[in-house]
């Protein structure tokens, strides 16, 4: 067992427009590897299982401690970060694929720009008057801070988007991650001043009505963001706003 190598089957693609192909690799096992460190071994010896020289695999990563969200990929069919996928836990047979909901740039590297565009759409910021010194921020109860912090840990990694059956090329749904950020900014005392605008964007096409409540998102979130609970609360917020909020206008 101990000298059994790590075997990888990697779905590769040379350009955004070319067809994908599979390439297999074998990397000697040492304890403590994760998927990134295995890919780094391939960089140091870019030869595939058939003994042919090949180009190193292209992928995205940065922090390597599961806080930046860059290295999301499909590992043995499941979406997760590669850095925290420890070989000693997941085994030595690996299939790596790019996530499917975003266009491929090359190999495992995809373009998740759409997620950041969605954050623009929902107004995911506190509209401050400027960065000059205007004194203290609003007070906040510790329990509100704790709720906000749980939502603020979302690292825009795209796991929930990959798992969501409603988020796809045929639908206009902006997806769980950007939707849930509305709740974060609406619960902040200053952010709440623009609560209605944010709720209105969630009532538009691509908004929360398109969530099918499959609950896949919360199961794959690496940061344990309370996605389904928050989506349910936002649904309520939107419904109440639709009934009462609009009347006040």
């Amino acid at each position: 067992m101990s000298d059994k190598p790590i075997r990888l089957k990697i779905k590769r693609q040379n350009t955004p427009d070319s067809s994908p192909y599979w390439e297999e690799f074998s990397v000697p096992y040492t304890p403590g590897h994760n998927v990134i460190s295995v890919l780094m071994e391939i960089q140091k010896n870019p030869v595939n299982s058939r003994g042919e020289k090949t180009s190193p695999v292209v992928w995205e990563c940065n922090c390597l401690e599961e806080v930046c969200g860059a290295c999301t990929m499909l590992i043995n069919g499941g979406v997760r970060q590669a850095c925290s996928a420890l070989i000693d836990k997941i085994g030595r047979e690996l299939t790596l694929e790019p996530i499917t909901k975003f266009p491929v740039v090359r190999d495992l590297h995809v373009d998740r720009g759409k997620m950041f565009e969605a954050l623009k759409k929902v107004g995911a910021w506190i509209p401050i008057d400027g960065t000059y010194d205007m004194g203290e921020g609003p007070r906040m109860a510790p329990k509100d801070q704790e709720e906000g912090y749980r939502l603020a840990k979302c690292m825009t990694c795209g796991c929930c988007m990959e798992a969501c059956p409603q988020y796809n090329s045929r639908s206009s749904f902006i997806g769980p991650a950007p939707t849930v950020q509305v709740r974060l900014f609406n619960l902040h005392p200053t952010g709440a001043m623009n609560r209605s605008e944010r709720l209105e964007t969630l009532m538009e096409k691509g908004g929360i009505a398109e969530c099918g409540n499959a609950q896949n998102c919360v199961r794959v979130c690496p940061k344990e963001v309370p996605l389904t609970k928050t989506l349910a609360e936002l649904n309520k917020d939107v419904d109440l706003y639709a009934i009462f909020g609009m009347l006040k206008k």
Binding site: K44, N62, F116, G137
Partner: protein
């Protein structure tokens, strides 16, 4: 015509510079290797320092200033450090206004915790992912300015070099589109570099994969001066890994965590024993040397390995989850044990560069129109950075650089477009030539293996304990690696799409240049100060070395000179942490009360 400012880097310093430059009415082009929300600032854990409540416990911004200068072993220029510490409370309040989910007291006020090298609780924090939360808040403000059309982002672009006109003024940058591999130049009326630290030169470090120091090194080869390169912070507590060292925040000790190992079969709290006044919260350089000594010299590491315990098991799990959740998660995920129940095993790891691009008090480099801010500048930490001062200095230096760059742009005689005296074409051709040479490299050596070799060499010889004979041998070895760099194989000859190997071959060339700056600076500094420790010269030598190291590029290697340090406020005194810190003697003319 609107002035345009280019900002390179989307961490805290870059984002804050961008916001400030946009507020000053400039159009901003923001370049980053990664979507800015994934920048390395995201890794900072413990908190941000600032004396927000001066009456509490008797703290004051001047005390923060004194702690920072003293903690940095008096090598930092005092005027900008003082300005930073006085600006700190307003910065924390600003970040709070932006919606950062800082931990709160029962009354709903900001909560503060203790940190290394300070006797007062002045560190605001957001769980143990404070850097992430601050970065996100600035990212959100920048997104808002993007929607307003004031900032344009170029993500997945790598900075290559400065465009310098015939007078040596910076007129823009050259950059690589990492998806299409196209080289382009971009004009600007001023450029701010916020490109982070060079940890990857040491192979494994707590830094992110993009922290190669390449952008700063590339500018250095264009004549930009680099200061105090030899001052590299090695953080006392990181978990070991094959691909990187994962930081276990100083805040673990700030919340009561204890460092120990076994001696004669019993727990030995060596920091508490040796430094009764500060205990586990001695500054990082000191904690690191002690842990290193206990493991390497005394061979008392846990299980006979290079590791000691960082113990939180005496603290209630509920408190730990609320205040340190982020790092507990990292430890559980990567080390596979629950730190609430079992002490964590840690060892020092390369973490931060106090040194960086030389800047004046407006954050401008020696090249007119080129500014630097954040970890890549040298300005605020002297010979050793205090914990939770990095997030502060990144935001503060961005607040200085943004408006200063806008002022420079306003005063510029000819706008960038009018100065096309060939300097843009020249720079583009220079960069294209570098790449076409790299595409042709078909030698026998593998760039990633060479980077490993570089990392091991630097970690072995240019970190915690430094000896002149070994530093000399290291520089020889680095010259040899520079020669061998020519016989690299590029591994990937494909053109047109995201060729990371080509990028890395180029980065490695500049990592070797920067490694020499660090090594030669260390070799020539015959004293011990802050993070720089030589057993052959164990004392601080103010007469000869209370000076800033300046490295100028020459093809044969760095030319080192020295510059006086601004000691305008606090007189240097011996730095000790076994007894309470004495209040700094003020120089005459200082009006500030303590």
């Amino acid at each position: 015509m609107n002035n345009r400012i280019i900002i390179v880097g989307g961490g805290l310093a870059g984002l804050m510079s961008a916001i400030k430059a946009a507020e000053a009415g400039c159009g901003v082009d923001l370049f980053s290797l990664v979507p800015v929300r994934r920048s390395h600032s995201v890794c900072a854990q413990g908190g941000i320092n600032g004396c927000v409540q001066p009456t509490r416990e008797g703290d004051s911004p001047d005390e923060h200033f004194d702690d920072t200068v003293y903690g940095g072993d008096f090598l930092a220029n005092q005027t900008p450090v003082r300005d930073m510490c006085h600006a700190a409370p307003a910065i924390i309040k600003l970040m709070d206004r932006m919606g950062v989910m800082f931990n709160r007291t029962p009354e709903g006020n900001l909560d503060f915790r203790a940190f290394g090298g300070a006797k007062y609780r002045r560190t605001a924090f957001s769980g143990a992912t404070t850097g992430q939360q601050l970065l996100y808040a600035l990212d959100e403000q920048v997104r808002r300015l993007e929607v307003e059309g004031k900032i344009t982002k170029y993500e997945f672009w790598e900075f290559l070099g400065a465009v310098l006109d015939d007078d040596g003024t910076c007129r823009g940058i050259s950059a690589l589109d990492m998806r299409t591999m196209e080289v382009r130049t971009f004009p600007a009326d001023a450029v701010i570099m916020a490109v982070g630290g060079p940890g990857v030169i040491f192979g494994k470090s707590t830094n992110s994969a993009i922290n190669t120091g390449t952008a700063a090194a590339s500018l250095y080869t264009q004549g930009v001066r680099y200061a105090n390169g030899e001052f590299i912070q090695v953080h006392p507590t990181a978990i070991q890994g094959i691909d990187k060292l994962r930081l276990m925040s100083e805040s673990a000790r700030g919340e009561g965590g204890r460092i120990w190992t076994y001696r004669d079969g019993k727990p030995w709290y060596f920091l508490e024993e040796k430094y009764p006044a500060y205990g586990n919260l001695v500054p990082r350089d000191i904690a690191t040397r002690e842990i290193f000594h206990v493991c390497v010299d005394m061979k008392l590491g846990i299980e006979g390995k290079n590791q000691v315990y960082l113990d939180l098991t005496h603290i209630p799990a509920e408190t730990l989850n609320r205040k340190l959740g982020g790092i507990l998660e990292i430890y559980e995920k990567f080390a596979g044990e629950d730190p609430r129940k079992k002490p964590m095993k840690v060892f020092p790891g390369v973490h931060y560069s106090m040194g960086g691009i030389w800047v004046d008090y407006d954050q401008m480099t020696n090249v007119p129109g080129l500014f630097a801010a954040g970890e890549c500048d040298y300005q605020y930490h002297g010979a050793n950075r205090l914990g939770a001062n990095a997030l502060l200095s990144c935001i503060y230096s961005g607040m200085v650089a943004g408006p200063a760059a806008a002022r420079f742009a306003n005063g510029l005689h000819k706008a960038a477009e009018d100065s096309r005296d060939g300097c843009f074409d020249r720079e583009k051709r220079r960069q294209q030539e570098i790449f076409s040479n790299i595409y042709r490299m078909n030698g026998s050596e593998n760039p990633y293996r060479m980077a490993n070799e570089l990392g091991e060499l630097m970690t072995e010889n240019v970190t915690v304990v430094r000896y002149n004979d070994r530093l000399k041998a290291t520089d020889e070895k680095l010259k040899e690696l520079q020669e061998r760099w020519r016989s690299l194989n590029v591994l990937d000859t494909s053109r047109g799409t995201a060729n990371q190997a080509v990028q890395f071959v180029r980065q490695l060339k500049y990592m070797l240049e920067m490694a020499r700056v660090i090594t030669v600076g260390a070799l020539l500094r015959n004293e011990s100060r802050g993070a720089h420790y030589k057993p052959e010269f164990p004392e601080r030598d103010d007469a000869r070395f209370l000076k800033t190291t300046i490295a100028d590029y020459a093809p044969s290697g760095p030319r080192i000179s020295y510059q006086e340090v601004d000691l305008g406020y606090i007189k240097p005194r011996p730095r000790v942490y076994d007894v309470e810190k004495k209040v700094g003697t003020r120089k005459e003319g200082d009006q500030h009360e303590r």
